[in-house]
């Protein structure tokens, strides 16, 4: 079992040729369907579908309301460590970048956790750089033990693990895994990941499958938009999500739609992905996977985030900080610059204003 085989089916697929065959009737035809195929999804991601963005958005809004109601889950990231052995050209934690490398001690983590818990948040995502030496699985597991006292759902966004390692963390108390493939095009992937264990495309691509097999209940995938044609990357992300749902029907599958942000190192995006593209991607995915989660990080501006809520977003970050121990030491350098620094209380107030309930707790730790 592997998503790689499915992805390889598209190796010689000519996306532009497909897009050039589409007419307005094809778009309205898809909009009239209840269940979308992969081809329908790609149709909604086409340049032609841009003419129908409002109609797609209206339907995406209705479908989201039906399945998720007027609720949005709040979460926040905690960066545990920024030691990294990779050279990903687009990342601030790149091994060649000069920044203070740091790893939180359990005492420091306890302080950070208390600051976050006071805001009422119960869902957190913990992140590390890719360094098995500095942030081994045993360290992450120890962190989970500290965090379990304060939070009811812990997701990890760390380097790719083996199935056994994922199982170890599930037993320790994590319930979700976020894994960004960054770019699904294998050639571009090797161009951008110059050194380090992350160069292994396949090991990363199959990480969500391994975490699913290990019993994770929430699997979140995504491509970092700006590294290749966004329509292709959006399509492959959607296919990846659908593949995971097919193979792990009891898991909650979600995607993120991150766009590149300014970061230490300053690698410019290869492709500019504009606001309208993000709306098209979000709403097309909503119709393709009506029950799929859509996670929105603080990479987007307040204006974008406020508007995307009605279009399909189900989880949104609040009070975010991308530096290690950044809440107790605000002077630390983050992985990337965030665009929305609103606090948890401000995000909750914004949601209520839009008629949405900010959900603080949507899971109960069972281990």
């Amino acid at each position: 079992m592997s998503f790689l085989a499915e992805l390889q089916n598209y190796q010689i697929f000519d996306f532009n040729a497909f897009f050039s065959t589409l007419t307005d009737r094809d778009i309205t035809g898809v909009l009239n369907k209840d269940r979308l195929t992969a081809v329908d999804f790609l149709t909604l991601l086409s340049p032609k579908a841009e003419n129908h963005l409002e109609a797609i958005a209206q339907k995406a809004h209705r479908v989201t309301l039906q399945h998720f109601g007027k609720t949005v889950l709040l979460f926040t990231p905690i960066y545990l460590a920024n030691y990294c052995t990779n050279q990903c050209v687009y990342c601030g934690f790149n091994i060649t970048n000069q920044l203070d490398r740091k790893k939180m001690s359990m005492e420091e983590l306890e302080v950070e956790a208390r600051i976050i818990a006071e805001t009422g948040l119960k869902h957190i995502i913990i992140l590390t750089g890719d360094s098995r030496e500095h942030s081994p699985v045993s360290y992450i597991s120890e962190c989970v033990k500290v965090l379990k006292k304060h939070f009811s759902s812990i997701m990890i966004e760390v380097y790719s693990l083996t199935e056994e390692e994922y199982r170890e963390l599930v037993n320790a108390g994590i319930d979700g895994v976020t894994m960004f493939q960054e770019v699904y095009d294998a050639d571009i992937y090797s161009e951008l990941h110059l050194a380090g264990p992350k160069r292994n495309y396949r090991f990363r691509l199959e990480a969500p499958e391994r975490s699913g097999a290990a019993g994770c209940r929430t699997l979140n995938v995504g491509a970092l938009l700006g590294l290749d044609d966004w329509r292709k990357e959006a399509f492959f992300t959607g296919l990846h999500a659908a593949y995971l749902q097919q193979n792990f029907p009891d898991a909650e599958i979600s995607i993120s739609t991150p766009r590149m942000r300014p970061h230490l190192g300053g690698f410019p995006p290869k492709v500019i992905v504009n606001d309208s593209n993000i709306v098209q991607y979000t709403t097309a995915f909503r119709l393709f996977m009506p029950r799929g989660g859509i996670t929105l990080s603080s990479r987007e501006t307040p204006k974008m985030r406020d508007h995307l809520i009605k279009l399909g977003v189900t989880k949104i970050s609040a009070g975010a900080c991308t530096a290690v121990g950044g809440r107790s030491h605000p002077e630390e350098t983050g992985q990337f610059d965030i665009s929305d620094d609103r606090s948890v209380a401000e995000m909750a107030a914004m949601l209520y204003e839009q008629g949405y309930q900010p959900v603080f707790k949507d899971w109960q730790l069972l281990v």
């Binding site: 309301l65 039906q66 609720t71 029907p249 009891d250 029950r291 109960q364």
Partner: protein
């Protein structure tokens, strides 16, 4: 009609409408919705219960006169459902439990086999167990034998608002199972709730149809009226539905001449 009460877990209920608490734009509206509907049983997902946060804790908005029925939303198997039920009891949510075991996130259809297993364990522990299920006679019998207090078959997939798609199967449960049959999930309009009551369901549970209505309080009131109208019609004994009109000049009338 005054004496038309039914009992679950020793609790006498006069309202036959149960309400869910998910999907609302704000929990603050829940007391008004409950009042408008007349519901006496309100279900809350334990995954959303957060006693440490009184303002955002959904359970705090359930009026005191109602029976709080926690549910095991999020459970993927019997073991998780059992753990969630025990946590609910420990959190002070009482001893009613609606078992929801869903291992398929695309259709959200319940897993009857795992639900039966959880029913057996929790009923033996003294819970008042209300299993949510796909309407199937054999499974319902197993749940009844395992100690369920009522059976909650779905009318259509959760949140689909598609109505009483499983009507024929639910009718069989009503005829064959001695426990109250409560239609849970799928009901999108008050007329569909009335229809469930007309065929003899003991109660219905509604959430999405009320929560995402433009005016949830008014919709809750409409469901309350529909459930009571459907129940009254059932008790009144509706006339049989005829396929053909009765002829005013019968062909066999000459036999009486």
């Amino acid at each position: 009609m005054q004496n038309d009460v039914f009992k679950i877990g020793g609790q006498e209920l006069t309202s036959r409408l149960f309400l869910g608490t998910g999907k609302y734009g704000s929990n603050k509206i829940i007391p008004q919705v409950v009042e408008a509907s007349g519901a006496q049983v309100v279900t809350v997902a334990l995954r959303r219960v957060d006693p440490g946060q009184p303002v955002e804790n959904v359970a705090a908005y359930v009026p005191k006169h109602c029976v709080l029925m926690p549910n095991t939303s999020g459970a993927r198997n019997a073991e998780e459902a059992i753990r969630i039920a025990r946590l609910a009891k420990a959190a002070g949510c009482g001893n009613w439990i609606k078992i929801e075991v869903i291992a398929d996130n695309r259709y959200l259809l319940p897993d009857n086999y795992e639900t039966i297993k959880a029913t057996e364990v929790l009923a033996a522990e003294g819970f008042v167990v209300l299993p949510y299920m796909s309407p199937d006679l054999a499974a319902a019998k197993h749940m009844a034998a395992a100690g369920a207090a009522a059976i909650m078959p779905l009318g259509a997939p959760i949140g689909s608002n598609r109505g009483l798609k499983t009507k024929e199967l639910i009718k069989i449960l009503i005829e064959e199972i001695a426990l109250p049959i409560i239609v849970d999930a799928g009901i999108g309009k008050p007329s569909e709730a009335a229809e469930a009551m007309e065929i003899g369901a003991s109660a219905v549970l509604v959430n999405t149809a009320v929560a995402i209505a433009n005016d949830p309080v008014a919709m809750a009131g409409a469901f309350g009226l529909a459930v009571s109208a459907g129940r009254t019609a059932f008790l009144a004994g509706p006339g049989a539905v005829q396929k053909y009109a009765s002829a005013s000049s019968p062909l066999t009338g000459f036999l009486q001449d």
